[in-house]
């Protein structure tokens, strides 16, 4: 099952449509689309505008590949499970988000095992053609790295301001 998700805030029709076009051309039906508030016609496919936290966990659990925007929450969910993820960054110029931070996120995360970046719709289709052979990275720990945790522990233990 390929889980296609736009995240919890805004629709991302450019991605949804690109994946739909690919699936129709390849006659694939093993996809689930979470589209956000969108008017894109997903007929013939399992689809939902929004999912509860519980449903979204279930979709991540059963996915063999995830296709998403370059949102850190979604990327982390996949890294936790060792599921390969293909990300298409949202563009500010196309009014898909308010700035181009997702391009930076994508550039930084593409060195992580199991994170595949499509910089445009053509690259997305090419990566989807390889979907069944993409391999995820090792599952990451459910918490932040020890360096950050111990920095925060030390901060808490510093003297309290004025108490």
């Amino acid at each position: 099952m390929i889980f296609v998700t736009v995240g919890s805030q805004l629709a991302f029709d450019r991605m949804t449509q690109a994946v739909l076009a690919w699936a129709r051309a390849r006659q694939r039906t093993d996809l689930f689309f979470q589209t956000g508030a969108s008017s894109v016609d997903c007929s013939g496919f399992a689809a939902s505008a929004m999912l509860s936290a519980q449903e979204i966990r279930a979709r991540f659990d059963e996915a063999t590949v995830v296709v998403a925007h370059a949102g850190t929450g979604t990327i982390i969910e996949c890294m936790l499970r060792g599921t390969p993820i293909i990300v298409l960054p949202r563009s500010a110029k196309l009014q898909e988000t308010r700035n181009d931070h997702q391009f930076g996120t994508a550039r930084r995360f593409q060195s992580r095992q199991g994170v595949f970046v499509a910089w445009n719709e053509e690259e997305l289709a090419a990566l989807l053609d390889r979907a069944d052979s993409l391999v995820g990275g090792a599952s990451i720990a459910p918490h932040a790295d020890e360096q950050l945790l111990s920095a925060l522990r030390r901060f808490v233990a510093e003297k309290r301001a004025g108490r």
Binding site: I76, T105, H143, D145, S150, A161
Partner: protein, 171 residues
């Protein structure tokens, strides 16, 4: 478990930490910090009702979300965050963004709390606008990318106010 409980009850000085963020990636990042505060009383504050179950048995308080395009909602969200601060009276406030966390850091001095802003890992090439503003008031401002900050000195007196530091990341 029992030993831990004894230590806690013996110590009236257990720190109360308020962890604040909006939803999505900010919340995912915030929750990954939980083990840093295992010895503290953790109180969580965010924007969706279903989050309560995700952090149980810790206390959870909900505030309305807002972004900078809707000024009235922004004001309402800020007032709710102030109310949370007055109710919880945390010793430490921690946020990974965005709007509710920024308000919590900004108003934390009302309850004399020390504050940590951890800029989202999504901001890989420059600090977020909230992060740049939060750095003006936060006790400690961290980026999650080594290129965007100076290594955090282990001696707190060596820290400069307004400076952005790096001390690891949530992933």
């Amino acid at each position: 478990m029992n030993a831990q409980r004894e230590v806690r009850s013996a110590s009236k000085t257990r720190h109360r930490v308020l962890l604040v963020s909006s939803s999505g990636g900010h919340w995912t990042e915030l929750r990954r910090l939980a083990p840093a505060f295992d010895q503290c009383e953790r109180v969580w504050c965010s924007v969706l009702p279903e989050m309560r179950d995700e952090v149980a048995p810790d206390r959870f308080l909900r505030v309305p979300d807002a972004n900078r395009w809707n000024k009235l909602r922004l004001l309402w969200s800020a007032l709710c965050v102030v109310w949370v601060l007055l109710r919880v009276r945390p010793h430490v406030v921690v946020s990974t963004g965005a709007a509710p966390g920024f308000f919590a850091i900004s108003f934390a001095k009302l309850v004399n709390a020390r504050t940590v802003w951890i800029d989202s890992i999504a901001n890989a090439e420059e600090l977020s606008m909230s992060g740049r503003n939060a750095a003006q008031t936060a006790t400690l401002t961290l980026t999650q990318w080594p290129e965007l900050g100076t290594p955090l000195p282990s001696d707190p007196s060596a820290r400069q106010p307004g400076e952005v530091y790096f001390a690891g990341s949530v992933v």
